[in-house]
Amino acid sequence: MPKRNDIKSVMIIGAGPIIIGQACEFDYSGAQACKALKEEGYRVILVNSNPATIMTDPLLADATYIEPIHWESVAKIIEKERPDVLLPTMGGQTGLNTALSLAKEGVLKKYNVELIGASREAIDKAEDRQLFDETMKKINLETPQSGIAHSMEDALKVQKEIGFPCIIRPSFTLGGSGGGVAYNIEEFKTICEKGLDLSPTNELLIDESLLGWKEYEMEVVRDKNDNCIIICSIENFDPMGVHTGDSITIAPAQTLTDKEFQIMRNASFKILREIGVETGGSNVQFAINPADGRMVVIEMNPRVSRSSALASKATGFPIAKVAALLSIGYTLDELKNDITSGLTPASFEPSIDYIVTKIPKFAFEKFPQAEPRLSTQMKSVGEVMSIGSNFQESLQKAICSMEDDKCGLEKIIDDEEEIHEKLGFELTFPGPERLFYIADAFRCGWSLEKIFNLTSIDPWFLRQIEDLIKEENIIKGSKLEKLSKRDFFRLKAKGFSDQRIANLLNEDYEKIRSARKSHNIVPSYKRVDTCAAEFKTSTCYMYSTYEGNCESNPTKKKKILVLGSGPNRIGQGIEFDYCCVHASLAMQEEGFESIMVNCNPETVSTDYDVSNRLYFEPITSEKILDIIDLEKPDGVIIQFGGQTPLKLSNDLENYGVNILGTEPDAIDRSEDRKRFQEIINKLNLLQPKNATVSSLHEALEKSDEIGFPIVVRPSYVLGGRAMELVNNKDELGIYISDAVQASNERPILLDHYLNNAIEVDVDVVSDGKEIMIGGILQHIEQAGIHSGDSACSLPPYSLNKEVIEELEIQSKKLAKELNVIGLMNVQFAIKNNEVYILEVNPRASRTVPFISKCIGNSLVKVAAKTMVGKSLSELKFSNALPQNKFFVKEAVLPFDKFPNVDPILGPEMKSTGEVMGIGRNFGEAYGKAQKAANKILRRKGKIFISVKEGDKKYLDKIVKSVISFGFEIIATKGTAEYIKNLGFEVEEINKVAEGRPHIVDALLNDQVCLVINTTQGRQSIKDSASIRQTALRKKILCTTTMFGADALVKALENREEDWEFSSLQEIN
């Protein structure tokens, strides 16, 4: 049956900001869905709060609402747009939950909106643990045995049924804290006692432990005629106990016989049917006891998911696109498989003839207080995928893709003395680098059995790692001259990178590369075709390997290579994928063939139909130069992928590659302190006092000149890693001796910190002659808070005209001096109307997608086109903002995933994502942005205030306003006295150290609706951490800056009921 004609418009809910567990894979799925449904002629109405996404590009939908994804906001949009149907399965858990709320609140019924893809009942059955268990029982499938307890008595009863070991999880604790595994009754009682206490509902979930069981996933698609297909099976390298999002995973499954595989396949279909997922993609997770094959169902997601993105990239089957088309009435046999040029229908099961490995990327270094251990709660912030002809090649390529400074299974234990103890611990309690500890264990001569006993990782995987270590030992004992062509071939076929071989031989990387090439050992490229070569494909989706013939067939067209941004991480996320996609599209618009290289399966850039050709490869010098050897592109774009491609600029230049746009030297001039200072002096600009030091002694000496407070950080880092604000010599000393070892190779940068200065981001585009401002973003939080973590407003909401003009003049001067062609970002600090330059980056910044959405014009496309010779005037670029609109960007932070971390903003970037609020005034926009970031501003109750001395001067204005809105104030002693003296009523409350009841008690008792808490100095920050942590746990909005508090007051001036909702298409 063809598509439905009874509907005209479809609403799609996106997933909102990037958070841990819900990343840019939903941009990929949402973008596919929007494109597919629009092509079918439906009016597509999109709601997504995340401006850094491709899906919110105005061209992808008919009405794009960058608005908070809360049912109240979406209800207003429904009222306005009156969609016929709502597709809730493309926006992750956020999409599903919002749709459920809309259903429960009666909105869908009121406006006669039909849910398609998944019904309310189906969502409930899949999401509600108890309903799910019952449903599985009904179809004779096992789930892990479990029970709920509200007392120790209950708990013991449940335990008796389940046996040992069992897993205890207190309900509703932050980050699942307070749970554990009990192996005996004593442990059980201890954990339960603690858990009952910690859980706000005094509730424990007690589950049968499946620790050590093997874990599998099946990606299933179903149409309305009940045709079901498996797109991909995925096997987890890490057994049960580690969240599948944090596990290394392999596709297709490797250790199942056909009999076992078919049981799983049949079960998957049964589950979809019984849950009632009518159409679309779902994911079912299974655990299998490796001893006897007993299979239990872990969970199912009635929507496209992270693993369906992975499965799509792993097989070439576009699950989200197909799911979208199925939801509006098509059946699988009516849809074509694009990758075989429509030779085959979409109703088949992909067969793949390669191995896919996914490795998650973590950010524990950002959260030193968090225990770097993996558990059933996801903590990774990104992932890489790689494709190889065998598991070893696939695994080693994935390691190289990680950008963790590892080019293979490198040794990570230095300390030989405690090595066995350390290995024992690391193998038993998985951390982010367990893979490398396994390799080290083999190096130490540990047996496979011993490693298996500690890790429960299938021997199938362990054996291959063991073989790689054996191979490494052979190389180590050899010499470059002794490596024959056969040796090279064998090593490359097993995935050893040139750099790894170089390290093992203690040789130069260049030497290995040229020796390899002199043997004519070069990669061949094979195609991802969904069908294991059974049918011909014209789709250029490729991966490198080292066997047989090359299927790449490069064209003779004019072509441009765009280097992607690799795995998502804090500091480099979806914004850069947005940039790369736009760069690729711009090149096609200019008549070039565009070639994309990237290794992140969650992205739109790795969709095979975005660029003319796609290489799914690690972004390393070796792999990129190999591709350049083959494709011989006319130019390479490295400006848009964040730090990832920039790191290769030297290698590319030395290789004689034509790097488009700003010359790489400009990056060095702006990043090298000394050279940058020369520019500042030459242009007669201002910079906070600073110095570069390579020892503690030098640091202390220079600190006098610079003056405290001082921002300290190691040189050459992105996202402000290991950056800190120090207030005196003691703190500086601690930083240098504890946090970062300074040396000549790794100097430390000191900058005078401008207290309470306003920070501004300016993005500039230049064609080499004409320079234009893209946008000027005023930060809400003061300078010193990492620019990626602070909210900002376009246009600036409190800067005067003169300052803005000065910012423009200085930005243009800098762009001219650096000969920018393309994009440049400048960060300024403004204090007492003086403009200081903090940083210049002659490349795309993370604010570029945001600005593009505001001005209704892709800054990236314009920039990319200038890089191939177009002028700004030819491109008719306009930076005009819509009249009477404010756009606020707010950062989204992952603190709820790291319970022991102090949720305070600082110079080190910690946010994972961003949202946008659009309003008629700054307050409305800021309020919407807060709501979109899930910072719920309650309108009634007490506001707790405790601020540092220097901030008290701001209290008058703030307190006056909030009291006029009807709030009451409570404050700690010093702050309370100050407020009293201002003539306002205030209730005094103890600090935590001052005895009970104290502020944390008040927070726990729900007496506070907003926390305004600013602190200074290591000790007082430490003392007040429990306030912020408790606020976070209780979901009480907490601001740690006065500027933030001021903005909240402005937000409160606007009532939520009065918010106006306009689509981007209406605005621009």
């Binding site: 297709p252 006897d292 294991a532 059974e534």
Partner: protein, 374 residues
């Protein structure tokens, strides 16, 4: 221990790799199979007699070999071609590795081969004659000429070669319970190269089974008073199997319910007056979409055939029940005037999806309906 080994094709293509299993020369028609699981079932499937199988899945040997998953008592594949061989399996049911199994059954495998390159050759040129040989026995040239000397499968009646010598009864259901049947129905299965899972499913869904030789005279079969006759899968070209076609014609005339699979399907079509033809590279895999023309359902099926029923040759009394969505070729037929139907793919799966296992129930229903008529 692996030994140096060579794979040659009649077009002169040569692949050097390492041999596993028995050090022998294998000559046959080379095909590719895109199944990602079930190599044990595939190599023990009699339909692969005289064929060399290229596995497109990159690792073969992962789950070893167990005594439960064989589709016959020997390895029928002439030889196998593998990219990466896994010598140390990991599965709780594994009893030995693939190399030992091949060796025990005097079969050879070659590994370390760019199976994708090979598959593309076969996709473009069609199934080819090929030879796998230990390098110690034949060099490249000799091996190519051995490949070229192979007669090819067209016109080759292999069913009689792989068929059971003796009549035997079967009463064991499907894995893992292997329940025997309580049904009173009795099916005679013509063994043209039958797979065990077919027997298990006939037991499970229809009744007790008696397996007879491919050439067993129809009168003898009728003497056993069958409620239905099953025509099995098998290797080779259906056309030369005149004895079978003759027997089937007679059974059709007697209006005995008939169900055929794969070669059995082709033989039924021939008996009904249709023609068969050799396909370019055939269907070998576990991901083939087949559509039921009556219900429009799409079923993912296991496939393994190099010959197919010609569409234009179908007489009026036979209708097409299923088609392949890959190439629209005939996948199932049923007689309008007789209780007989057949399927080209493998409803018994093993390996592969079990989406179309319902055909066994359909056979039982047909038998029951037929009994009522009487």
């Amino acid at each position: 221990m692996p030994f140096p080994c060579i794979l040659t094709l009649e077009d002169g293509s040569t692949f050097i790799g390492e041999g596993i299993g028995a050090e022998k020369v294998a000559i046959g028609e080379i095909v590719f199979n895109t199944s990602m699981t079930g190599y044990q079932e595939i190599i023990t499937d009699p339909s692969y007699c005289k064929q060399i199988i290229t596995f497109t899945h990159p690792h073969i040997g992962n789950t070893g070999i167990n005594s439960e998953d064989n589709e016959s008592d020997q390895i029928y594949a002439e030889g196998i071609v593998i990219r990466n061989y896994i010598s140390e399996p990991s599965n709780f049911r594994s009893e030995e590795n693939l190399h030992e199994f091949l060796k025990r059954h005097n079969s050879i495998g070659i590994c370390g081969i760019d199976t994708r390159r090979l598959t593309i050759i076969l996709r473009e040129k069609g199934a080819l004659k090929a030879c796998i040989s230990p390098l110690s026995e034949n060099n490249e040239e000799a091996s190519i000429s051995l490949a070229r000397k192979f007669d090819g499968l067209e016109g080759m009646d292999l069913a009689k070669e792989v068929s059971t010598k003796d009549t035997y009864s079967w009463n064991e259901g499907v894995w893992p319970e292997h329940k025997s049947s309580n049904s009173d129905l009795h099916v005679i299965a013509y063994d043209y190269g039958i797979k065990k899972n077919i027997l298990r499913l006939l037991t499970e869904h229809v009744g007790k089974v008696t397996v007879v030789n491919a050439k067993c005279d129809i009168d003898e079969v009728l003497g056993m008073k069958p409620d239905g006759i099953f025509l099995s899968n098998g290797p080779g070209d259906p056309e030369p199997c005149e004895y079978a076609i003759k027997n089937i014609k007679m059974a059709l005339n007697k209006k005995i319910p008939i169900f055929g699979i794969c070669l059995g399907h082709q033989l039924l079509a021939l008996a009904g007056g249709a023609k068969t033809e050799k396909m370019k590279f055939g269907h070998h895999g576990a991901n083939h979409p087949v559509q039921s023309l009556t219900t429009k359902e799409v079923l993912i099926t296991s496939q393994n055939h190099g010959f197919a029923v010609n569409k234009d040759s179908l007489p009026n009394n036979i209708e097409i029940s299923h088609i392949s969505l890959f190439d629209k070729s005939i996948q199932g037929i049923s007689f309008k005037d007789k209780p007989a139907f057949s399927f080209q793919g493998h409803p018994e799966a093993s390996p592969g999806p079990q989406d179309i296992v319902g055909l066994f129930k359909q056979f039982k229903e047909m038998i029951n309906k037929n009994a009522k008529k009487k």
